[in-house]
Structure formats: C-alpha cells, structure tokens
Symmetry: C2
Subunit: 346 residues, 2 copies
C-alpha cells in the first residue's frame, strides 16, 4: 500500500517536473511534492539554473500556504536524488534537514558516481528515513536527455522531420506537410529545446524564424529563445536580411562556418552555451551527416498521409554505414497527421 501511494505521489512530482523542460539547462528539470499524512502541503519544480531547486521550492510553497508547521514530520517526494553539495545554490539536503522533513522519497539516483547515494547517507545519518527507486524507470526515462549530456558532454539531439509517407520533405506547390495540430507539437519541441540547428541550405531556401509560436502549453516567462545554430560552408552565403540576423532574437543566432567535426560543435554548444537538448530541423544532407556519425538520440517523424514523390527526400543517398533502429516507438494521430517517435538504439 505504501508503495502504491509513493508511486502516485512520485508521478505527481514528475508531472511538475515537466514544467521545467526547456528552461533549466544545464540543470535537470526536477519536481517535488510534500505530503503531511494524506495532505499535499507543498509542491514545486526547478525552473531555471541559479534559482531554487525543486525541493526548496516545495518547502517554500508549504510555508507560503501556511503549512510551515506541518513540514516537521512530512514526506518529501522528489524525482531526482537531492543535491548534497554547494553549487550555485546551497545543498538541498540542508533545506530538508532544516525543515524537519521526516522521510524523503526520490526517483532516480544522481548519475554522477561521485555524488550518487550521498544524499541518502547524509540524510539517514541525521535520522531522516530515505526511500529510493520509486518510479525509477519513469524518472530516469524523463531525465534521459540530461543524463546523456552529463555523461557524454554532448547535447541530446532530437531529429525532427515532417514528411509524406514516401519520405518527402516538400510537396508540389509548396503546400504544408504539417497540419495545424502537428505544428503545435513541433513548437512544443522547440520550447523544450535549448538550441535548434539547421543548415545554410535551409536558411537560404526557407528563411525560417525558428521561434516558438504555437506550443501546446503557455511559454514560461523565463524561457529564452533557443539558440538558433546555423552550419554553413560560407557565412557570406547567408543573406544579411534573413530573420535569424534581423529579428528581435538576432543575438540568439550562432553561425558555424566550415565545420570539420559536428561533435566538436555539439560539445561547444553544451560547454559554452549550456545546451542540453538540441533539435535538428535541417534538410536531408546535413541530417545524413548527423545520422552517419551516430549523433542523433531521438527521432520524431510527423507524417502526412499523402504520397507525393518529388526531389526532397528527408534522407537522400545510399545506405547509411549503420542503419538507425528505433526503440520505445510510439505512433499517434495528431490532427490529420501521424507522429512517430522513438529513441535511437545506441
């Protein structure tokens, strides 16, 4: 019974964590709820690096709601092992101890071996009961992009294509492939991203803004325009009046010229610009390079139920040296289109 209750509450914390996707990088999105008996007395999620973590936000929320007295003896549910060391903010374990929380339940252990389990031993040494591994698969699945970037130093790359059933990126007469509903999902993906990458060819052909216009949820106030990364052989081939150079977010455009190593670019984006989630919205040739070099982690295919033919395959050319296989595939109808998502088998 306690196990089931813990699971339900961890799911609530995970739901809260979703709100942070796209704004917390380089930190992970984390959610927390606090229960006193059966009463939910506080909740919170991490919103932005440098600001309070989910645990502190939930404690603050309990106090603000007049539930401060109830914290002593309460149970905190948090999706990721609380931090136990000083970063930009003081350790969450301190806040937990100060508040008098009696029991801490967390979903996923810290992926950093140097810290893993430290919160547990620290809290237990002070008499706090600790329970780990609750909804661990869901929590670690949710944090997969962040864990990837912690472990590899590279952003998690989601390739997104909108295509016909025969794999074409364009239709005759420049009609749209996405439908209104699937476009919302594309913008939601942008909201979740720290950077959007395209090639010079796409910029020259489409003059895209790469802004977040119609996501599924309200754009958080703290959400910055994702970095707009352009890879091109020659910067001067990009017209000076394109949106990426002239709109209100022009300071969020990065141009890389004559790139020799895609992974070096990705590494720099992670280290210098805190990019944890990167979305590829490029054409076939650049996509092929990312695929060939094994740099794509997740695949999103927005399929319009039409067969068009035409010159623009999303993946032109010969066999990939190593074909991509997708795992954990889901397909769902969105408007008149079908969205297939999957994780790339590493």
């Amino acid at each position: 019974m306690q196990g089931e209750i813990d699971s339900v509450r961890m799911r609530e914390a995970l739901q809260l964590a979703q709100n942070g996707v796209g704004t917390t990088s380089p930190n992970p999105p984390v959610g927390a709820v606090i229960y006193s008996g059966e009463q939910r007395i506080g909740e919170g999620y991490h919103e932005k690096a440098g600001e309070a973590h989910a645990e502190r936000r939930a404690i603050q929320d309990a106090v603000r709601r007049g539930n401060g007295e109830l914290l002593r003896g309460a149970t905190l549910y948090v999706t990721l092992e609380p931090c136990s060391s000083h970063g930009k903010t003081p350790p969450c374990t301190d806040a937990i101890l100060e508040a008098g929380i009696e029991r801490v339940v967390y979903g996923m252990q810290d992926p950093d071996k140097r810290h893993r389990g430290r919160a547990r031993s620290l809290l237990e040494s002070k008499g706090v009961r600790v329970c780990t591994g609750v909804e661990e698969a869901a929590c670690s699945g949710f944090l997969r992009p962040w864990v990837h970037s912690v472990k590899t130093g590279l952003p998690w790359v989601t390739a997104k294509v909108a295509c016909t059933l025969d794999g074409r990126l364009t239709r005759r007469n420049e009609r749209w492939i996405s439908c209104a509903e699937s476009l919302k999902l594309a913008h939601e993906l942008r909201l979740q991203s720290d950077a959007i990458l395209v090639g010079g060819a796409t910029v020259r052909a489409d003059n895209p803004a790469l802004t977040i216009r119609t996501p599924l949820r309200k754009i958080p106030l703290c959400k910055q325009q994702p970095w707009r990364v352009v890879l091109t052989r020659d910067r001067t081939s990009l017209p000076a009046d394109i949106k990426l150079f002239t709109d209100e977010f022009s300071s969020r455009t990065l141009v890389y010229e004559r790139v020799e190593s895609l992974s070096a670019v990705l590494r720099e984006l992670h280290e210098r610009y805190d990019v944890v989630r990167l979305m590829l919205e490029c054409g076939g040739n650049l996509l092929r390079q990312f695929l060939e070099q094994g740099l794509v982690n997740e695949w999103v295919q927005d399929m319009s139920p039409i067969i068009s033919g035409g010159p623009c395959s999303f993946l032109p050319g010969d066999f990939l040296p190593r074909e991509l296989r997708l795992n954990e595939v889901t397909v769902r109808q969105v408007g008149r289109n079908y969205i297939l998502r999957g994780l790339v088998d590493p």
Copy 2:
C-alpha cells in the same frame, strides 16, 4: 431496442461474410444469420461463385441443425440485398419465401440500379416484412472493393509496400523489412486477393513465389492460388527456371508483354479472370505508373522502425502529377513494425 438487436445480428452476419473474402469473386462475400426469437437457428456465408448464396446456406444450416420448423416466422439478416433474379443459382428471394421467413433485414442495397430495391418490393408483395439500411456503412465499407469492380469494370487495387521509415524497400545485406507478424498480414492480404501483380524487375531480382504461406486464418479449401500477373517489356527477359513458371501453380501465372495501357490489363483481368481484388507487390517504377494513372484504391504500408538510406525508394522520382491522399487511415503496431492503411481519395 429492435434497432440495437438488428445491429448486433447484422454485425454477426458481417463477421461471417469475412470468411468469404478471397474466394467468392466475381461474386461479393456475403454473410447471413437467421434468428427465431432470440435463438440463432442458422448461419452461412457465400463461399464460391456457382455455389449457394449466404441466404440459402443459412436456411440449409437451420434445416441441418434440426431447426427447419423454426424457419417459419423467423428473421433473416443478410449483409447485402438478396438476389431476385436467376444467375448461376436460383434467386434467393425464392428460397426465403419457400422457407417461410417472416422478416428480412439487409445491410446494403444492390449497387446495380436495375436490381436495387427489387428484393424489397418482391418480398413485401408476398407479405414478408423488410428492413434495410441496418449497419449500412459497415456493410458497404466491407463491400467497397466489389462495388468498385461492378461499377468500373476494374479490380480494386491494393498497393502494398514494406519499407523503412525513410521509404526504402531494401536494407543493407538483404535483411528483411517485414517482421514475422507483419508478414502474416501480407499473406492474409494475398489470401484476400484474386491476383497479385509484379513487374519483371521484381521477378528477376527476387524470384518470388507469390504464394500464400502464413496468413492469419486457415486457408479455405476452395481458395485457389491467386493469379500471378507479371508485366514485362520482354517475356524472354524472365528466366525459364523461376518459381512462377516451374512451381505447382505455374498455370496460375499470367505474363503481359509490352503493355500499353495498365487499365486495359486490369479490365482484362476483371473480365476474363474474374479478378475483383488485386494486390500490387511491385517495385517503385511500376508502382509509380499505377499511382500516376489513378489506378490504386487502397494503400498498405508495412513500416519497420528503422532508417536505412539506400538506392531503393518505394517511390523514386519527381512529384506525382497529382499527389495521393489517404482517407480512413489506421495505424497499428504489428510485431515490431507499424502498419498504416488507408483508402485513396478518388
């Protein structure tokens, strides 16, 4: 209430009709059930042209089960308007009257204007109550291929491709695209077909047998090997030792040389060989011709969740003059693959 009961029983009749798909051509697959009060006293489906229709089979079934006495006053449910004229077999309306059936419920009207509604007036003039239009959408959807061939003189063409997410028909190292489960569906489609059409290129490359090996249901005893139709520029380009010429079904192979009009071939297949349902299993170039000429009625795409690249797109080349749009699309997981089906928007 009676309406709901009628619907449920018509669905039962439709379920029986499914058994006839693939063996009744040029006739339609039809199912029938007979109820005396709440007791189901007989059932049947049309199995093969020249043999008894569903209505007669259901009446015979009632008699065989010792329910002959109950036929007087019973209700017959049949998916298609009963025939009222002499064909290869005597009219079903006669059998209905002889049996003393009191009420007849049918789903779809005869698509032939000359016969439509004739069963109704004939039966009503003899005091039989008639109810039409029960589960009409389901019954007419089920009979769509047959209606198409009656109205146009052409077979209903189902194009089937097995491809990767990037629309390729082949993988590196000749690995399969279909999985064991999706292959069963492909063989079930063959079972439902009167003919399977391929191009000479496919025959030379793959030496296919085009036989029904692992369908979802048991192959009916009366099921003949579907016609194996090969379109080729030059008959002598087909090796003499291919399976289509040498296996036990060699008499079921038809070769068309230097075809000038695909629709003329289809028309001949319908008129001369009673082909109502034809399955296209051809490569990209021939498929394109069928698509360009608007001869494809239904689309089945067996998608493996892999991205492979490679030389064999299922639809190479430029934009179709008129793109295909699919209606009534369904996508479902079958094994590790995803099967998308839809009707081509005419």
